[in-house]
């Protein structure tokens, strides 16, 4: 079955659901408005907020790092993880951007993506085709074939449920024996150093709780002023992704600890002993100083613009530099890879700006990137 069929199904399943969620929970739109303001406040003074966040992480008992480039991020991860470990990963676009999984495997670690979509594209050795549904391009039949080949135990004509059960069984053992869990972060509260993560599968909760070391890696653009703002971000993101209410919202502030014996605080308790937050810059701080590109940094990765974009519908993963596809990906390909080509494919249909929760005028940002790219070439 083709990309056309897969994306058509996704659009027809998701778009009406988002409209319904927004109709039933109109407060989401107010939260989105407030979130835009809060994020702008950070982006106007990003370096200050990075420092504040790193201090807060330290106060909460964690370790915070600013990585200016993917190489630096990998070096930090290498020092924490070492070699010969089992690593489970919750979905993180920034980890993909920094090439963490491949790097850790090369270093002699066993690394498993645990988000179902990410796991499938890891098995298929393919790039993600959508930010919240990375395996959107695979049909059920293709998934069945893939799992049969790579992990076995799948029979022809399996149901969706049977396929998910197989993956669950396979990954359960990895979760239990994992030494390190690596996740992203949907938002980082600068006042408390708390990271917020939303999910539906439970894999992120597992990855961030079960191993003794938890590393969260995310972009500096994910910083928001307060924990209250971080709450808004997860609610808005999940609603606009069509997954509201989210099954799980995880807040993590430092490592696990207990003071239940003689009130002496020790770490770990049931969760990790160490918590590390790596904030990746990779062009973001520079972009935050440009009033047009700053808008791109407001993106909360809900993936809604993709499903309203005619070019994404036609080109899919071929449009953008992975993991950044679709309209947001055309902006982000320039922000982090300095690649203006994806922006050239914007046909300024304008649907994206109508549906973006952050009210980013995406076609205008892309027009600006076209201009920058044309000037580079000239």
């Amino acid at each position: 079955m083709s990309w056309e069929t897969a994306v058509e199904r996704a659009i027809n399943n998701n778009v009406p659901r988002v409209y319904k969620i927004l109709r039933e929970h109109p407060y989401i739109l107010d939260l989105a408005k407030e979130l835009r303001e809060a994020k702008l406040k950070v982006l106007e003074n990003l370096e200050y907020y990075v420092d504040k966040t790193l201090d807060s992480v330290k106060r909460a008992g964690g370790h915070g790092y600013l990585a200016s480039s993917p190489e630096e991020a990998r070096e930090i991860v290498e020092k924490i993880v070492g070699k010969g470990k089992t690593v489970v990963m919750g979905k993180s676009m920034v980890a993909y951007e920094a090439g963490i999984r491949e790097f850790l495997i090369r270093q002699g670690n066993e690394v498993w993506e645990t988000d179902l979509g990410e796991f499938l594209i890891q098995l298929a050795n393919q790039p993600p085709s959508h930010i919240i549904a990375p395996a959107i391009h695979l049909t059920k039949e293709e998934v069945e074939k893939l799992l049969k080949q790579k992990i076995g135990g799948v029979h022809e004509g399996s149901t969706h449920e049977e396929l998910v059960t197989m993956v669950r069984q396979f990954l359960r053992e990895k979760f239990v024996k994992a030494d390190v869990g690596i996740t992203g972060a949907n938002a980082v509260a600068s006042d408390t150093g708390t990271i917020a993560l939303i999910e539906n599968e439970g894999n992120i909760r597992f990855s961030s709780i079960s191993p003794t070391v938890h590393i969260a890696i995310t972009g500096v653009d994910k910083i928001v002023p307060t924990l209250a703002d971080a709450t808004k971000e997860v609610l808005v993101q999940s609603a606009f992704a069509g997954l509201y209410p989210p099954t799980y919202v995880n807040f993590t502030s430092g490592p696990s600890s207990t003071a239940d014996i003689e009130m002496k605080r020790i770490s770990p308790a049931h969760g990790p002993k160490e918590f590390h937050l790596i904030l990746l810059d990779n062009g973001r701080i520079k972009a935050s100083k440009d009033p047009v590109l700053r808008e791109a940094l407001l993106c909360i990765r809900c993936g809604r613009c993709h499903l309203h974009c005619p070019v994404y519908r036609a080109l899919g993963v071929k449009w953008g530099d992975p993991p950044f596809t679709g309209p947001m990906g055309a902006m982000w390909s320039y922000v982090v890879y300095n690649d203006p080509k994806p922006a050239m494919y914007c046909a300024h249909s304008g649907n994206c700006k109508e549906v973006c929760p952050m009210r980013i005028n995406i076609p205008r940002v892309l027009e600006y990137i076209k201009w920058k790219g044309n000037r580079q070439k000239a």
Binding site: E4, I11, N12, V15, P16, H308, P310, V311, R313, A314, L315, K341, A343, M344, Y345, A347, H348, S349, G350, N351, K353, E354, V355, E367, Y368, I369, K370, W371, G373, N374, R375, K377, A378
Partner: protein
């Protein structure tokens, strides 16, 4: 992706030479009227879009070879739309012009002196070149005493609406749909492909709906404000194949709604027509 640098050079060269994006026979642009005065406060501004649009698919197919075959570009002036294509374009323009006149608007037309708007430069992100060229266009309008411009297509309207972001531009710009009185009904049932620019940038979607007094077959997932997709046309100068992919998908979803399709833009017309299973008509052909 096409070589946009060469395309830019060709565009700029031609715009400098005759204020048209390609070497064209201006007679094609002006052949639709002889009746309108050459000067006046208010002009109908075609930017030669309806007249040249039938040639765009051919130009777009040629663009991948532009850098190798650049010396052939002057031959473009020998290209002509077919008689049927020209008649159709002229018919649209005459209908609009007559409808405006019927509303008591004293309309002028710049004939050979009518410049291209620069829309293509803007849409391809050649903003420096757009700014420079647009100032020249404004100079032409001022020279000819133009105070009010009536546009007939979305790309031109959008380009003019953006002029004031680049320099001070003091001419009123209005779209024909805001002024005309449509005739009553049409027995056919149509579906509609909205222009992206009119709908999501120029706030004219509802104006079109208000003036189209015929029954439209709509579907929230196909013709909604946020869900109605682009025809693919603006992508053609960048990558014709990608543009065709978008056009096919769009035409397919519209074909499911009706065998009669209304469009509002000459580019949508040429882009969707080869893929739409049925008849495509411009709104002006049907309501005026």
């Amino acid at each position: 992706m096409n070589d946009l640098k060469t395309l830019r050079d060709v565009l700029v060269e031609n715009l400098e030479r005759n204020m048209m994006p390609f070497p064209v026979d201006k007679g094609i642009c002006t052949g639709w009227t002889r009746d309108l005065p050459r000067s006046g406060d208010t002009i109908i501004y075609t930017s030669c879009m309806y007249q040249l649009a039938p040639l765009f698919p051919m130009f777009n197919r040629f663009l991948p070879y532009l850098s190798a075959l650049r010396s052939l570009t002057p031959l473009a002036s020998k290209l002509k739309p077919s008689e049927a294509q020209l008649n159709r374009a002229y018919n649209v323009l005459r209908k609009i012009s007559n409808a405006l006149t019927a509303k008591g608007i004293k309309l002028a037309y710049l004939y050979d002196d009518e410049p291209y708007s620069g829309a293509l430069l803007l849409e391809l992100g050649f903003l420096d070149e757009f700014q420079e060229y647009a100032k020249k266009v404004y100079g032409r309008f001022k020279e000819r005493g133009v105070k009010r411009i009536i546009t007939v297509d979305p790309h031109t309207h959008n380009a003019l609406a953006r002029y004031s972001e680049f320099f001070s531009f003091n001419v009123e710009v209005v779209n024909y749909i805001e002024l005309v009185e449509p005739r009553e009904g049409d027995a056919n049932v149509y579906t509609i492909h909205d222009s992206c620019l009119y709908t999501r940038f120029l706030n004219l979607r509802e104006k079109f709906r208000e003036k189209i007094k015929i029954k439209l077959v709509e579907d929230d997932m196909v013709t909604g404000k946020d869900t109605s997709f682009c025809c693919g046309g603006p992508l053609a100068p960048v990558d014709f194949k990608a543009s065709e992919e978008v056009a096919k998908a769009r035409a397919k979803s519209l074909s499911r709604l009706s065998k009669n399709l209304l469009v509002q833009c000459p580019i949508c017309y040429v882009t969707l027509s080869p893929h739409f299973e049925g008849e495509v008509k411009d709104v002006a052909e049907v309501i005026l």
